[in-house]
């Protein structure tokens, strides 16, 4: 940095982090930001941060302030999607067509085998 000078040890680490991020940003393979895992988690596992796993008052951003953790139709077709979500998912639509889909499933942990396929 030329104009903002790091003074203490933590600031030096922040400067190094910023430089490292800038270096990575120049990598052409990484220019799609919307769905990718945040850079500091690149080496770790991908945690699904979908709706059923977090408290999120709005859906606009995930709890990291980005969009990477929001549910995607291809990867978030999970049990919780069936109740009130309008987003088309591959689970039965309990609002309109299959209101009794979970009728035999009082507790998902115990009764998940009773969630049957739906035939049109």
């Amino acid at each position: 940095m030329k104009h903002v000078k790091p003074i203490n040890q933590k600031a030096a680490r922040i400067e190094a982090y910023v430089a490292h991020e800038a270096e990575k940003a120049r990598d052409e393979e990484l220019d799609v930001v919307g769905l990718r895992t945040p850079p500091h988690e690149m080496d770790g596992p991908h945690y699904p941060l979908g709706c059923s796993l977090q408290f999120s008052p709005g859906w606009e951003v995930d709890n990291r302030g980005g969009t990477a953790g929001l549910c995607q139709p291809i990867e978030r077709d999970i049990f919780d999607c069936h109740i009130s979500c309008f987003w088309p998912a591959h689970v039965p639509d309990q609002l309109n067509h299959s209101p009794d889909w979970t009728g035999q499933c009082a507790s998902a942990q115990k009764d998940w085998r009773k969630l049957d396929l739906i035939f049109p």
Partner: protein, 490 residues
Amino acid sequence: MNPPVATGAPDATDAGPVLSLRDFHPFEAYGARFLYMVPSAGIFRMDDAGGAVLDALAQGPRGLDDLVAELGDRLDVDRLLETIEELTEIRAIGDPGAPRDEAPNDLPPPDFPLNTMVLNVTNKCNLACTYCYEYGDDKIVDTQYGKQPKFMSEETAEESVEFLLRQSGEQPTAHLTFFGGETLLNFPLLQKTVAYANRRAAEEGKRITFSLTTNATLLKPEIIRWLADNDIGVTISIDGPKPVQDGLRVFHNGRGTYDVVLPKIKELLATHRSRPIGARVTLTQKHLDVLDIYRHLTEEVGFFEVGLAPVTTQEHRDYAITPESKSHMLRQFEELAEEWLEHALRDEHHGFTNVTDTIEEIHKGVSKAYGCGAGLGLMGVATDGEVALCHRFAGSPEHTIGSVSEGVDREKQERFLVDHHIAEKTDCHKCWARPICSGGCYHEAHVQYGDSSHANLHYCTWVRSWTHTCLEIYGALAEKNPKFLERFGA
């Protein structure tokens, strides 16, 4: 539920992306402007372009183009744009709608090593200091009729040493502090434990260092000799000149202790040269002449270091420090801090440890998840071998997290770590001093609010003022004597 919503570009106007100030605390030294970033605790120095950008954004958020137009007649546009980019990178400025930065809400790893163990070798004391948190009005544990033995046994002390060696994990060094009651009432145990610990540490290829806290009444030549020979760090609890010391630090019959301890302390200071000897002062409403106390203890008695702490007690006690007195005390702290800075600028030692400790934390840029290391890197052991969060809670069943024979109850420890994490302290979320304070002392919280996880709200103003003062000192050293700061870097 969470359907994906296209958010598009961040808030933008015709004047480019909108910028506003983010989370930091500004301070100055010798005309230079610095930012203390929250919650990262990084410190950056601004040049005049950086200062101009921050001043402009202090008037309210504005678009990039407007900002450049506003400042472009005074500053070179390229330099301005670079400065804005750098300020954005360190997150001093940014999108007004961006979420606040919070430190990660992570628990420390389960094998976090124990660094310091405080051994309450006795819960008896030969003094009856009015304000004592162990025997006074605010005590947590019934030290007189409670179930704990009055003295720790040799067996428990040895088990404690084993516990420390085990819990210190891969760390090559661990620290053992003897505490009480009056520590020296159980001097035979200290001798045996130090010998045992040295032997066992050597067998394990480790090193254990020792220290103790004492009221100095029982010091005698052979004890002082032993302390010096074994490199035992010594902290003396003492409140100041005779009228101050004799006010609240008294024997059971009410007699003051000053005349008894003074010659013993002088002998200790003259004989024990292997480790610096510190004084630990409890400040109360009765005696708040901080400067007088400090000068007496350093210049007249000869202590190398003096640390001062306001008494922990409920507000209604007559020795509890009133809010007005807190500001008076703060002014005197600031005066001493100024003196500390003058010494540091000349590369000289100054014994006011309250500054030294804070400067070290500022230099490293610590951003704490917990107010202190209690229950994690530091634990207190009661006379019966129960392990508590720290020495102040030793013997309290509510704050026990295991025993030296059976180890740490990981479930209890984890519950403690979850409940006391800074992320749980909503009062602290908007405070700029949270990287350093992190809600404060658990024992202080327990005495004041009956809940150890409560933030120390009665000290907020004090902590912010004091941290600001120490930041200014840090900035001054960074400007005029940056080499001095290197000694805090290790």
